[in-house]
C-alpha cells in the first residue's frame, strides 16, 4: 500500500510526486509575481517569506523522495513503452530532480550571502554560510531565474508526455501515477 511494487506506485511516492508538482508550480507562480511587487504592496514582505519557507520544505520533501527511491524503487516502465520513450523520460526526470535541487541551492545562496539565516515560517531557521563567492546574490539570482524557467518548461513537457500516454497511447502511465494498480 505505502511501498512501490514492480508494477505500481505506492501511496508515499504518489503523494510526494503530486505534492512536489503542486509546490513547484505554486512556487514558480509566486516567484514570478513577487519579484515585481511594489514596495508598498502588502505582499512585499510576506510573499518572499512564504516562497523561501515553502522552498526549504520542498527541499526536505525532495530529500525524502530521493531516500524513498532507494528504500522502495519505482515500478518498471510499462512493457508498451518504446525504448526512446524510456530513455527520454529517464533524462527528463533526472533533469527535473536536478533542477529542483539547483533552485533550492541558488535560492539559498541569494538569501544567505549576508549571513542571515532563512526562516521557515516560525518553525525553524536554516543557518547561513555567508558569502561563498563574489557577486553571490546576483549570480545565484540569475541561475535561479533561468533554472526556474527551464524546470517549468521541462515539467510541462513531462506532463504533456503523460497526457500523450493517456489519450493517444491509451496506456496506464498516468493512471499509475495516481496509485492505480494495473
Amino acid at each position: 500500500m505505502l511501498k512501490n511494487s514492480s508494477s505500481h506506485y505506492g501511496l508515499v511516492s504518489v503523494v510526494l510526486h503530486w505534492l512536489v508538482a503542486l509546490t513547484v508550480f505554486g512556487l514558480f507562480g509566486v516567484g514570478f509575481w513577487m519579484v515585481d511587487l511594489s514596495y508598498y504592496s502588502e505582499w512585499y514582505r510576506t510573499a518572499p517569506y512564504w516562497h523561501k519557507s515553502v522552498g526549504i520544505l520542498l527541499a526536505i520533501a525532495m530529500l525524502l523522495r530521493l531516500l524513498w527511491r532507494f528504500l522502495s524503487p519505482p515500478p518498471t516502465a510499462l512493457a508498451s513503452h518504446k525504448s526512446w520513450e524510456k530513455r527520454t523520460s529517464a533524462v527528463v526526470q533526472f533533469c527535473l530532480y536536478l533542477g529542483i535541487f539547483m533552485l533550492v541551492l541558488s535560492g539559498y545562496l541569494i538569501s544567505t550571502e549576508d549571513g542571515r539565516p532563512i526562516a521557515v515560517f516560525t518553525w525553524f531557521e536554516v543557518p547561513a554560510l555567508g558569502a561563498l563567492f563574489a557577486n553571490q546574490a546576483d549570480i545565484a539570482g540569475l541561475v535561479h531565474e533561468y533554472v526556474a524557467y527551464s524546470l517549468i518548461a521541462l515539467a510541462v513537457l513531462h506532463g504533456l508526455a503523460a497526457l500523450k500516454h493517456h489519450f493517444i497511447d491509451k496506456d496506464n502511465t498516468l493512471k499509475r501515477m495516481f496509485g492505480r494498480k494495473p
Partner: protein, 190 residues
C-alpha cells in the same frame, strides 16, 4: 617712510613662499574615506548604506581654496546596505542599474568659500548615467603631518539628491524621494 614700509612689507610677502597647491590621493587604501548615504525608511527611520569601492584625488591650496579641485569615481557595484537581498535590488535596474552604469563620478567645477572652514563644492555628479550639477556643503576638518611621515588633509561634505533627477524612478514613498549623500575624504599628499 610710509612708502618704504609698504615696499618692505611687500618684499617680505614676496619672500615668504606662497603655500603651494598640493595634490592629494584619497586614502582608500587605508579606508580613511567614506561614501555613505542615508534615506528615510517609510518616513519612520533612516536606512544607511555606503559604497565600499571608490577612488579619487584632489588638489588643495589652503590659501586659494577656490582653486582646489576634486574628482571621485565610485564603483556602484560595491553598494552595501548590510543586506544581500536589498543590495541585489539596489544594483538592479530598479535603482542603480550597475550592469549598465558601473561607475558614478563626481568632478568638481567650482568652489565657493564660506564662513570659517566651510565651503560650497560645486560639481557634476554622474549617477545611473545621468549627469547633474550638485552642490556639496563641505567643511575642512583638518590637515597636518601624520605619525608615519606623510601629510594629510581631510574634508567632509553632504548633499541631498532627488532620486528622480537621476532616473531612479522606483517609488519608495513620499518620505524617501531624496537620499542624503555623505562624503568624508582624507587625502595623503602625493
Amino acid at each position: 617712510m610710509k612708502k618704504l614700509l609698504l615696499a618692505a612689507s611687500m618684499a617680505a610677502m614676496m619672500a615668504v613662499p606662497a603655500a603651494q597647491a598640493a595634490d592629494y590621493v584619497i586614502d582608500t587604501q587605508g579606508a580613511h574615506a567614506f561614501v555613505q548615504f542615508k534615506i528615510s525608511h517609510l518616513g519612520y527611520s533612516w536606512l544607511y548604506g555606503r559604497f565600499n569601492t571608490f577612488s579619487g584625488d584632489f588638489s588643495y591650496d589652503a590659501d586659494k581654496l577656490e582653486a582646489s579641485k576634486i574628482q571621485l569615481t565610485i564603483d556602484t557595484n560595491s553598494v552595501d546596505s548590510n543586506h544581500a537581498e536589498r543590495d541585489k535590488h539596489l544594483r538592479s535596474g530598479d535603482f542603480l542599474n550597475v550592469s549598465k552604469h558601473p561607475k558614478a563620478t563626481f568632478v568638481s567645477t567650482k568652489i565657493v568659500p564660506k564662513a570659517g572652514d566651510t565651503f560650497d563644492l560645486h560639481g557634476n555628479l554622474t549617477l545611473n548615467g545621468v549627469t547633474k550639477e550638485v552642490v556639496i556643503a563641505a567643511e575642512k576638518l583638518g590637515e597636518g603631518t601624520d605619525p608615519w611621515g606623510g601629510y594629510r588633509a581631510g574634508f567632509a561634505g553632504t548633499t541631498t539628491l532627488t532620486l528622480k533627477d537621476f532616473a531612479i524612478n522606483t517609488d519608495l514613498g513620499p518620505a524617501s524621494a531624496t537620499v542624503q549623500l555623505d562624503l568624508t575624504v582624507e587625502g595623503i599628499r602625493k
